[in-house]
Symmetry: none
Subunit: 129 residues, 2 copies
């Protein structure tokens, strides 16, 4: 089942509804990359609240998505990792050290807001001198 992607302001929200098959994951990656360009998104939230199983391929793919989108100028936050999923990931040695995670959609959006207001400020200061 393809993952629906919503656009909110300059952010994209991918709301994963069920366990990701390998094909779903690849499609999510391609869809996100296309939409980042199309909507000039500055942030992406992948909401995994609804899933209770995350295999190593899916976890690795999420990291790939995060790194790819970062290279295109958009930050990715993974939100809503369930305790069981977090536990399984730690046991398997799959950590998201180099990625940002947040408790839920609200915290994720707050983090992106902070981040982008920081960027706007820096840009403003740099171009204004």
């Amino acid at each position: 089942m393809p993952v629906p992607i919503l656009k909110q302001g300059t952010y994209l929200i991918a709301s994963v509804q069920s366990a990701l098959t390998d094909a779903d994951t690849e499609r999510l990656r391609d869809d996100l990359m296309k939409q980042v360009s199309k909507y000039r998104a500055h942030g992406i939230i992948v909401d995994v609240t609804a899933i209770d199983v995350l295999d190593s391929f899916a976890a690795r793919s999420l990291r790939t998505i995060a790194h790819m989108t970062q290279l295109r100028g958009a930050e990715t936050v993974i939100v809503g990792l369930q305790p069981e999923v977090a536990f399984a990931m730690v046991q398997l040695g799959l950590t998201f050290d180099d990625m940002h995670t947040a408790l839920d959609l609200e915290e994720g959006l707050a983090w992106l807001e902070n981040k982008s207001s920081g960027r706007r400020h820096r840009d403003g200061r740099d171009s204004g001198r």
Copy 2:
């Protein structure tokens, strides 16, 4: 004996009172995960001042707790490792390389404060132009 968990601001303080059995450790992990969601905590302090024995299972579990809570958006600091415990851990090759530790509760709170005020400060400065 279950570990009491106190809430102070946006932080949770788990104050370990006696040597942790395996069941206690698992319960601590589950309790912390629940409370992180419930109180939207941004930081967790596990105070082990009172214990003079920390077996490898408990040490591994503390690390698991730290990684799990990080995946849910909260930083964990272990405070009050006694010299004997630290010595035994080093001898056993159990290090907390990828975790933050501090001397005592006060230092742990200060570290969490810095971490979050750093975030707030950046945000404040950025939005205040």
